[in-house]
Symmetry: C2
């Protein structure tokens, strides 16, 4: 019986292999046999780590999500205000090959989640985490909205919720544009698209 640390290490190797198989060949090709081959495991050797492809896919999605969050921590360290908000969003935008591969995994996962309530719930928990981070970052960047402000000059909660929702829609939509409309996914283009929204949301806040 392997030590726990080896067990966890193996699970991560398998997740990386799953992630590569999905990103390169699609979720339908991600059979347990294909993933075992990609990871250099004998067929059947996966069972002690994941008892079904379904569990493996959930774990792979969570891994991509955790990886993005780790990059966000690094990218936003030492930044504040609008810079922190932009840096955070840039880690979701598919600005390099790694993030493009993540976008392909995400689209495959969404398609599964449409008919799998457990996957939809996992997606929703992850998105909620980003939504609350974005709400904090927008407030720190000086978002005040356009309507009724409270004593501290903050915009209404409904305006903040709408702004967070708009940012989420845009960064999720960018996954589709970047993977399926290559003419519109240059790094500069995606960043400019995000800035269109952020500039509007933070109009009147000194840069």
């Amino acid at each position: 019986m392997p030590k726990i640390v080896d067990h966890d290490q193996r699970r991560l190797e398998l997740v990386d292999a799953t992630w590569r198989v999905i990103a390169e060949r699609g979720i339908d090709a991600a059979t347990m046999r294909e993933i075992a081959a990609e990871a250099g495991f004998a067929n059947g050797a996966l069972k002690p780590y994941f008892d079904s492809k379904d569990r493996l896919l959930d774990f792979a999605f969570e891994h991509v999500f955790a990886q993005t969050n780790r990059r966000m921590d690094g990218a936003t360290a030492g930044l504040s205000g609008r810079d922190a908000l932009r840096a955070y969003c840039h880690e979701i935008l598919p600005l390099d090959e790694e993030r493009l591969a993540e976008a392909r995994v995400a689209i495959a996962f969404w398609n599964k989640a449409l008919r799998d309530p457990a996957k939809a719930a996992l997606h929703e928990r992850s998105m909620d985490q980003w939504r609350s981070a974005l709400a904090g970052l927008l407030r720190e960047a000086g978002f005040t909205g356009s309507q009724a402000h409270d004593a501290a000059g903050q915009g209404s909660a409904a305006e903040l919720t709408a702004a967070v929702g708009a940012v989420m829609d845009l960064v999720l939509g960018a996954q589709i544009t970047a993977t399926l409309s290559p003419g519109h996914h240059g790094t500069g283009q995606l960043v400019a698209q995000l800035d269109c929204l952020l500039d509007g949301l933070l109009a009147g806040v000194a840069a």
Copy 2:
């Protein structure tokens, strides 16, 4: 041999059935057998209309796209400026059951298009059509961008392209939010998210 008009009518019936099968049960359940059953055809009776499931799926996606465009024509008739722009975008946002079903078809199609260049090209042609319509609508609504303006007071071409890209990202991302994050897809919420972006893009233009 059926008359041409019947042939076309049958193809549309089959597309409607395909679209219902995908929206309700997922693209994997959309076998030719399932679709024939849904349309009330005998198994095998589909061959004269579509020689493969793949062709049928392309035709179904084109049908959803054409249907959205027809609704846009109706919704924008008699409107101009910001009102026309909003009405156009609202037909893409999943604001009712019909458009939610279309969103599910779109997500399934995107997942296929990731590994099917012909489907990706079909998607790209459709999105290009929306992009040029949006560019025209943004100009008519008074979009000027924030930087260098030409003699007519129009924003730079790059700014217009970025603004169009931002709107496209947002309305595509809304398909995911609306289908997978039901707590964030109320009609009012999606409209407010879009307005966050449009208000910023058209800041300074009289409503």
